[in-house]
Amino acid sequence: MLAYIIQRVFQSIVVLLLVGLVAFSMFRFVGDPIDNMLGQERTGADIARLRTQLGLDQPFPVQYYKFLSNAVQGNFGVSYRQGRPVSQIIAERAPATLELAAVSAVLAISFGVVLGVFTAIRRNGVAANLIMSASLIGVSLPTFLIGILLIYLFAVELGWLPSFGRGDVVDLGWWSTGFLTASGLKALILPAITLALFQMTLIMRLVRSEMLEVLRQDYIRFARARGLRDRSIYFRHALKNTMVPVITVVGLQLGAIIAFAIITETVFQWPGVGLLFINAIQFVDIPVMAAYLMLISVMFVGINLLVDILYYFIDPRLRVDRTAAAK
């Protein structure tokens, strides 16, 4: 178990180093930062001074090493546009995105699993077929369109919910939360649904097909032949067996929820890191882009590591095989 985790952590570090290389390359290849920082009225001496000051005259590996060691310490440099440390900007914006992503993930997973099990059990039922047809809409409509439709219906026509922004937030010092105010919660509803809908339908369809597959297995027939109750057969015997593939996909989708948040945040003008990233692209604010890239990759890698460890607890067969292989 321990050897397995160490091995996975090591792989994760390699992935992060590679992503760091890509993020760092942006500094060198997406325009010249000197050009961006000095205006038209520059002299050769200015350029040389700034180049030395920023360490851009040093060889590539040295620069890469400095970038990495700074990044590990949470120092991603100074935003070209705002003139403030990137880490500070991101720390301000991250709570908005993480709260939105967390609510969406909870919505997507809970509704996705419940509806998936339901549509698998009542495979030929009217309700299950309706849900399946409706889920096609969720899978095929693009996120921004769902967001705009929801805004049109609930904000413009009905006027129940706000169409943009995060509402009032409570500042807890290191974290600003929208969970504690009525306007914050109201503002969360539409973006959370928008972000969750695609993931929910995806999880639902996956759980359904995995359930149908598992329900055909011999051990389910044997469980029926032993006279076990439907509830036990579906939830104790079948659902658990669908969990390994479902958790794999859910893990990847959690990363996607944070990444897709860019679109939802743009549609709802949600003040999170996604919106920050879009604005950074418009102004070629490379330190912010690089930091965002690193942040997302750390989350992806972290979630995947967690998923790999979860397999262990779900499937006893992996415990034996992997430890034997690790020896």
């Binding site: 051990y219 027939r221 032949a225 006279g227 076990l228 067996n241 067969r317």
Partner: protein, 322 residues
């Protein structure tokens, strides 16, 4: 006989509606099992043996369904019970052992949990007592060090051991009848005999009736008291095992015996039965076996099909020898 029988199957028919018409995988089958008796059911693949077993325990996969006849357990009809009542019959009164022990245990639950769950479903016992019973059940089927292995997962057992666990699971709520659907087919030859003698021993001790579905004549000869031979969904012959094996009345039984190594004495070439069993969508008129039968006459090709006279469904019983 009618009153003492544990299981009575009368004129059972199973139908599967398909786009190309209705298939009849079980067609007018009648048989009985007395308490403590082992009835072997043999036939080729697709002869309807397993389908008969599934129909008795009420586990036909839709769209297959019972379309006629009845199934009586201890004199009470069970084929038309509501879903929930039939669930209580399964496990408690009718147990079932499946073919492949590698796939019939849930891989993610320790075997003890699966046993305890089944015991508590059917018997009013506490968690602790159920666990004690589970250990006893494993002990009975010959799992060494049962009390320490009860928390093991299925993949930690060999195939033969897993089939013992499956038998323990099928018997743990002490059913009156066990349907064993090819219980040894997926096992090593060396383990087959052990499993069969275990099944036989446990059922003898408890007076449990067994429907032993198999295509292995050796298993039938070894284990069963009586034997039913099925062909194309119909009963070809039924009778005491010694009589059917040594003096078969139906030409198909004779053909089966002639093509089984070791079933007859002496060294000789094995006989083959020419042709193959008809598909369910092309069962011939009259006796289903007539296209392959050496004794067939015009009478065999025409309706009505031969009635069961004596032990065999044949117009000329006993005329074809092994």
């Amino acid at each position: 006989m009618q009153n003492t029988a544990l299981l009575t199957v009368e004129n059972l028919c199973v139908e599967i509606p398909t786009r190309r018409g209705i298939l009849k995988p079980v067609d007018d089958v009648s048989l009985q099992i007395a308490p403590g008796e082992i009835l072997g059911v043999v036939g080729e693949s697709g002869a309807g043996k397993s389908m008969t077993g599934n129909a008795v325990i009420g586990l036909l996969d839709p769209p297959a369904h019972i379309s006629g006849g009845q199934v009586l357990l201890n004199g009470k009809r069970v084929d038309n019970l509501p879903r929930e009542q039939m669930r209580r019959v399964r496990g408690k009164q009718i147990g079932m052992v499946f073919q492949d022990p590698l796939t019939s245990l849930n891989p993610l639950l320790p075997i003890g949990d699966q046993l305890v769950e089944t015991i508590q479903e059917h018997l009013p016992v506490s968690q602790r007592e159920a666990r004690d019973r589970a250990v006893a059940a494993l002990d009975e089927v010959g799992i060494p060090a049962a009390s320490s292995r009860i928390d093991s997962y299925p993949h930690e057992f060999s195939g033969g051991m897993r089939q013992r666990v499956v038998i323990a699971l099928a018997l743990c709520a002490e059913p009156d009848l066990v349907i064993a659907d090819e219980p040894t087919t997926a096992l090593d030859v060396s383990v087959q005999a052990q499993i069969i003698s275990l099944l036989k021993k446990l059922c003898r001790e408890r007076g449990t009736g067994v429907m032993l579905v198999t295509h292995d004549m050796g298993v039938i000869a070894e284990a069963s008291d009586r034997v039913a031979v099925m062909y194309a969904g119909r009963l070809a012959e039924i009778g005491p095992v010694r009589q059917v094996l040594t003096d078969p009345q139906h030409p198909y039984t004779a053909g089966l015996m002639g093509s089984t190594p070791g079933a007859s004495l002496g060294r000789r070439r094995l006989n083959q039965i020419p042709g193959t069993m008809p598909g369910l969508n092309a069962v011939p008129d009259g006796c289903a076996y007539h296209p392959r039968c050496p004794r067939a006459e015009a009478k065999c090709r025409a309706e009505p099909r031969p009635p069961v006279s004596g032990s065999a469904s044949c117009w000329f019983p006993g005329e074809v020898k092994i």
